[in-house]
């Protein structure tokens, strides 16, 4: 990195007056979007375009005996049919190959088997019915605890459990057993005056982005490939294509389109390879657009879980011991979010003795993908009810109990790392001071609950370039896909550094041929990590421009400085050039200036963002229907680069959390069929179901970022289900041990039915 790390000082100490950061400009692309001109995945069109459709497994678990595509190939209007046989032999990871187009086995209903490119989507769909697949149907295993049993049907005969002890000798559906231990849990529990233990189950939930996945592939005569796709990360898609197609990365250009929501689900690639295979075989560009049922059956739900939590506290209110067992459904292939679930479950608290066991378990459901703070929501739903119960048993106000036990700077997490500066205490204090915490509920059958959640920030790797134009404007390119305004937040940081107005910075998302490797827009990293890269690029621009000023003035470069208003030199106080004036002279002083920032954020010791939520709910005790009346979300965001956008993230995250808490889930029959593969029965909340959420921004700067920015986008979903469950407890006297908390479940818990 060109910027020494020690230059990144927290803003609290220096009263720099910020001109761009902290303002609320309109987001890039907003005008295109309200005009209907923004180009999303399915909006891509090319001459000679063909349309692809995917044949998917009707069985949850079966051996494929044969696939006969001959009739489909002969159907009028069909140009190509592909199966797993069309993937280059030996290319890529076996599980990635198999999840793209099934090889020997299908492992979930909706597992892709073959695909067809035809003149129209209708013709492709008709031809799908002509592909003859013979199956040997096998018994499926759909529940995480059943899958862990020794006699459960095995998804992968070769899968053996990895644990601290190495790899097990025999096959299992458990891909990994991870464990964190801190202190001496047994001794801690012996010290406790009150111990609470409960078990919780949560069902798989879909991210529910409104835009289905869509990908368009075009092969060029030189054998190179361009793919337009709606993704959270063009580079990971390029890498996926490169690996499965056995094609050098440089010969693939992935162009990320606008993305109609992702929330983690578009960090995975589903139809890009299929589109590329079809296009190669057909010799024409092919677009594959998924239907809603395909999205719900075959893409990214977040794991269903079984979580057991046991916690002990002393009479003085200190939590002294905790243990948790987290069993997460990975779906058909290993790789659930149990790791971050285990990392998050006790993250808000300073607990001297603790043990966490996590299990990554395959089941006959789609391979899970990230969903906004992956793994954390179920874990926090569980732990926050146990914490609430401990406080109640100890007769301590539940916010005070959290204040008494919350993590602080230096607290070592159960999963290892000590915390840098994080605003746990500040968030709790802000919540306590907020009127919502103390105002009356205003009616019968109402309850108020709180929950405390945390999500760590990943920094990842990012690239950004800034080119200075002769008129003093700059063009900024980044590899980060613009999820919900992140691009604006990135450009605002560059504008701040450069001393420019935001309208003088035109930022765009670059394709993979135009910028260096950049990780997915996920993990609360984009505004932070790519923001850092933008700052670095801006500082590189300033450094180069200082050199140009030095050359113009004939003074040593060390004497030239830029105070975000003008370039000056300590040698000659009469010399002064604004950014725009100097930009006009670049051509004559050595040519164009382009700054670059290429960040490896993984070396940074990063904090995360804690959030305390307060929920008021009303229960119809006769029907079990729960209505969220009032909702306040207090969160440490470090520094709100674009406060409006941060508030938008909080409101949106809470809305998704309410959906997860009360309505949503992927419900499977015993045969593994998804019973609610529509948005009628997979019940995303509507405008009638979500109150006006009040975001409360707390700013405790992250010391590793020059402006103190923390990632803010994921934490808002984490505490929601826990807060609503705790509110329901106040009304019903019953702990909610299942998600979603449907009306039927609430009535069951109340003993009404």
């Amino acid at each position: 990195m060109s910027t020494p790390r020690d230059e990144r000082k927290p803003v609290t100490d220096e009263p720099v007056s910020l001109r761009v950061i902290g303002t609320r400009p309109p987001l890039y692309g907003a005008v295109d979007k309200v005009l209907g001109r923004a180009v999303f995945g399915a909006d891509v069109s090319l001459p000679e375009l063909l349309h692809g459709k995917v044949l998917r497994s009707p069985h949850a678990h079966a051996r494929i005996l044969s696939v006969d595509t001959r009739r489909a190939e002969g159907y009028p209007g069909v140009h190509a049919v592909v199966t797993a046989r069309d993937l280059p032999e030996g290319a890529g990871e076996q599980s990635e190959r198999d999840n793209t187009l099934a090889g020997d086995k299908v492992l979930y209903v909706g597992h892709p088997i073959a695909a067809i490119a035809a003149e129209s989507p209708h013709i492709a769909e008709e031809a799908l019915a002509l592909i003859d697949v013979q199956y040997e149907v096998l018994p499926p295993v759909l529940d995480v605890r059943r899958a862990m049993q020794a006699d459960a049907p095995l998804l992968h005969e070769t899968l053996r459990t990895w644990s601290l002890a190495g790899q097990a000798a025999s096959s299992s559906n458990v891909a990994e057993h991870l464990q964190h231990v801190k202190g001496d849990p047994e001794r801690g529990f012996a010290e406790a005056d009150v111990i609470v233990e409960r078990s919780f189950t949560t069902t798989m939930v879909h991210q529910g982005y409104i835009e289905p996945h869509a990908s368009t592939a075009l092969w060029h005569p030189d054998g190179s490939l361009t793919v337009w796709t709606c993704t959270q990360g063009a580079f990971p898609v390029r890498e996926h294509l490169s690996s499965l197609l056995d094609l050098p990365m440089a010969r693939i250009r992935v162009v990320p389109t606008e993305i109609g929501g992702g929330f983690g689900g578009k960090a995975s690639s589903y139809v890009d390879v299929v589109a590329a295979l079809l296009a190669r075989k057909a010799g024409r560009p092919v677009k594959v657009v998924m239907g809603r049922d395909e999205v719900l059956k075959a893409t990214g739900p977040t794991p269903g879980t079984f979580i057991r939590v046991r916690m002990g506290a002393r009479r003085d209110g200190r939590i002294v011991a905790a243990e948790a067992e987290l069993c997460y459904e990975a779906g058909a292939y290993p790789g659930s979010s149990v790791g971050s679930g285990a990392d998050t479950i006790f993250a808000c608290y300073d607990i001297p003795n603790a043990r966490v066991d996590g299990y990554d378990v395959v089941v006959n459901k789609p391979k899970t993908s990230s969903y906004r703070a992956p793994g954390a929501t179920p874990a926090v739903f569980a732990v926050e009810q146990v914490v609430d119960e401990l406080a109640e048993r100890l007769c301590i106000d539940s916010l005070d109990f959290r204040l008494l036990n919350c993590a602080r700077e230096g607290t070592r997490r159960v999963s290892g790392q000590p915390y840098p500066r994080v605003g746990f205490v500040e968030v709790l204090q802000a919540a306590k001071a907020h009127p919502h915490y103390s105002e009356p509920l205003g009616g019968p059958n109402r309850g108020r609950g709180i929950a405390f959640g945390y999500w760590g920030n990943w920094a990842g790797q990012s690239c950004c370039t800034i080119s200075v134009n002769a008129d003093g404007t700059v063009s900024l390119l980044t590899g980060s896909v613009d999820v919900s305004g992140a691009l604006t937040g990135i450009a605002m940081q560059a504008a701040e550094e450069l001393g420019l107005e935001l309208r003088q910075v035109q930022a765009r998302v670059a394709d993979t041929a135009s910028i260096g490797y950049t990780d997915v827009s996920a993990g609360s990293r984009t505004t932070f990590g790519t923001g850092l890269a933008a700052i670095e690029a801006a500082r590189d621009v300033i450094a180069q421009m200082r050199a140009r000023a030095a050359r113009l003035w004939g003074v040593p470069v060390e004497t030239v400085s830029y105070d975000r208003v003008a370039f000056t030199t300590s040698v000659d106080p009469t010399q002064r050039l604004s950014f725009r004036e100097l930009a006009a002279q670049l051509s004559a002083t050595g040519g164009p200036v382009m700054g670059r920032g290429n960040l490896d954020g993984d070396v940074l010791r990063r904090g995360g963002a804690p959030g305390l939520h307060i929920a008021d709910v009303e229960l119809d005790p006769e029907t079990g229907k729960v209505t969220v009346l009032r909702y306040t979300a207090v969160q440490d965001v470090g520094r709100a680069v674009h406060p409006g956008n941060v508030e938008g993230q909080i409101k949106g995250g809470v809305a998704q959390g309410i959906g997860w808490a009360l309505y949503e889930g992927c419900f499977y029959g015993e045969d593994g069929q998804l019973l609610n593969a529509t948005l009628l029965d997979n019940k995303l909340p509507t405008a009638m179901d979500i109150p006006a959420v009040e975001p409360v921004i707390v700013e405790v700067p992250d010391p590793v970022h020059p402006y103190g920015v923390r990632g803010a986008g994921e934490t808002p979903i984490v505490p929601v289900a826990g807060a609503i469950a705790n509110a329901l407890y106040r009304i019903t006297g019953r702990r909610m041990e299942r998600l979603p908390m449907t009306p039927a479940y609430v009535l069951e818990r109340m003993g009404v039915i």
Binding site: R24, P26, L27, G29, A30, V31, D32, K33, V34, L35, G36, R37, A38, V39, F40, A42, D43, S45, H122, Q207, G208, Y209, I210, E211, P212, E258, I259, G260, G261, F263, V289, G291, R292, V483, S484, G485, G644, N645, G648, K651, G652, V654, A655, Q656, T678, L679, L680, L684, T686, A687, M688, I690, P691, A692, V693
Partner: protein, 166 residues
């Protein structure tokens, strides 16, 4: 049997004539035949509202209308909202209130809001929420969309008053 049918309609104020298969939905006709890709597909079964357009002044899911059914009719899509003087007040209010994030539900949401304001220039918050309930948004939590519609309604009433006085 699968012959194409000629359809004549007025789309965004312009007379349009096109050929489509009877099985093609209005949504497909708009997007694939007429290149009006502002209207989005989210579910194709009427449960998300992303494809909302106005048909003869009524809000419809264009996925649940056949292209052939609009023969002789009038359709308004998101592309037809802005006038020669610039953005429609709803479009401007959506930007001003940050009522969009990913923007995918926005075209349908704008049309749903327009259909409401065409009937009720001063709707209550409850009524706005009911009208927009058929349009799912996964990013915003709806709150700002409701505020934007309220604000646009205010602006449109004010403009109407000005015109009435003038």
């Amino acid at each position: 049997m699968d012959g194409k049918v000629r359809v004549q309609a007025t789309i965004n104020g312009q007379p349009v004539e096109f050929l489509c298969e009877p099985r093609q939905s209005l949504l497909e006709c708009l997007r694939d035949i007429l290149d009006l890709t502002g209207t989005k597909e989210g579910c194709s079964d009427g449960n998300c509202g992303a494809c909302s357009v106005l048909l003869n002044g009524r809000l419809v899911n264009s996925c649940l209308v056949l292209g052939v059914e609009i023969d002789g009719g009038e359709v308004t899509t998101v592309e037809g909202l802005a006038g020669p003087d610039g953005l429609h007040p709803l479009q401007q209010a959506f930007i001003d209130h940050a009522a969009l994030q990913c923007g995918y539900c926005t075209p349908g949401m704008l049309l749903a809001a327009k259909a409401l304001l065409d009937r009720d220039p001063d709707p209550s918050e409850e009524r706005i929420r009911q009208w927009l309930a058929g349009n799912l948004c996964r990013c915003t939590g709806y709150d700002r969309i409701v505020r934007a519609v309220q604000d646009a309604a205010r602006r449109m009433r004010r403009d109407a008053d000005v015109h009435a006085e003038g």
